[in-house]
Symmetry: C2
Subunit: 237 residues, 2 copies
């Protein structure tokens, strides 16, 4: 989900553009709308709390209200949208406390994931992780920010998958998305120096050092939490 999400839009998100690619695809409209809406929310194109009327979205997508309704119901379960019966839908709000709770839980789960990954990853997966480590180190050395951003994202998913627990993977995906969302609604985060921590975790996993991997991964997320706290304070001022 990377390619041509070009920022060629004015103030309102240009759904028609993202729309064209889908026409001939085989997924149904409601799924496409769900994905587009989810991405729009997570990237901050819709502000938190902003009202989402069915007719408004339907017109923006040039579809009927039905697929929009289904998408909104799905996003509600995911926690990105808040629906009040007979009143309508809004982009969900995250309180400061909730942000803390997200980070707290994510730290625990990331640690758990790294622990499992270190214990369980097959030789094949180990090779893949080593490859990811090399790529990241190279990008870090040459300061290739675009590649690094991409690798940072894949890193978390790879660790989760290597842990071999599908439900843990799902939960972490949800929490990762929320973290992304938090950052999208705050002043630019400082993601530099992030890879160093990722590299250390990868090395521990590859070395099958579950205890170290777990501690490093947990601390890594806690660092992210501190970064968010810093950015939040800055925003308050």
């Amino acid at each position: 989900m990377t390619d041509e999400q070009a920022e060629n839009d004015q103030d309102k998100p240009d759904f028609a553009a993202a729309w064209a690619d889908i026409g001939s695809s085989h997924k149904s409209i409601n799924m496409a709308i769900t994905e587009t809406l989810r991405a729009a929310i997570l990237s901050g194109k819709f502000k938190t709390g902003e009202r989402l009327t069915e007719v408004g979205l339907a017109k923006a997508f040039d579809v009927s209200r039905n697929p929009v309704r289904e998408a909104l119901r799905v996003l509600e379960v995911e926690g990105l949208v808040e629906i009040n019966p007979r009143k309508g839908a809004r982009v969900a709000l995250l309180t400061v406390d909730e942000v803390q709770e997200i980070i707290e839980l994510r730290a625990e789960l990331e640690g758990m994931s790294a622990k499992y990954a270190a214990r369980r990853c097959s030789d094949e997966v180990r090779v893949n992780l080593q490859h990811l480590l090399n790529e990241g180190n190279r990008a870090d050395a040459t300061n290739d920010v675009a590649v690094l951003a991409e690798l940072n994202n894949t890193f978390h998913n790879q660790i989760a998958v290597a842990g071999k627990n599908r439900f843990l993977v799902g939960f972490m995906k949800a929490l990762n998305e929320k973290t992304q969302w938090i950052f999208a609604n705050r002043p630019e985060p400082n993601m530099a120096g992030n890879w160093k921590e990722h590299a250390a975790i990868l090395e521990a996993v590859i070395a099958a050092d579950d205890e170290l991997a777990s501690v490093l991964a947990k601390r890594h997320v806690e660092d992210i939490g501190k970064e968010i706290a810093r950015a939040t304070e800055e925003q308050e001022r």
Copy 2:
């Protein structure tokens, strides 16, 4: 939506009965259907893998297909239903591996929850937990199975809530539901002696012994896992 619609049809699982209560309520039909369907699946009234056609359900509920569709979309996100575009919906399947993963994760999260609860619960919550403990002990002593079953359920929720992390509460609710679902699709589980373990966990939480609470809670779920494994083997024979 008058209340007299109750005695219409009774060929399908008796939704009409559950339906009557809802009429005057203020939640929308799609939500009511979601809840009813969820309960039906979790309690095993629909077998895993069973096909769920929109018209079939719509007729059973005596509504149009729209609310049913929305409910199915929601239940898909929750993992209880599996939807294939243009083919339809089925009650989801759980492989043996997935059952193991659910238990594994639930054990970790229950441990985490108990740890947090022991650390964080206020005096007021502590009193509530003590009350729950007393009630349970009494029901256990008098072998009041109905009450015990009820208390067993509330126990897990109370611990989770006392942990003061909303997202952890949500994840555990999902995993608890899945556990319930697993049992519903297997020969009768042996829930006796269950309270003893709950009581020990409660005592540790009340005593603010986070480490002990965590270990006991984790082990408790692992015991449930063993019970499931036993029941599964029995079923295979």
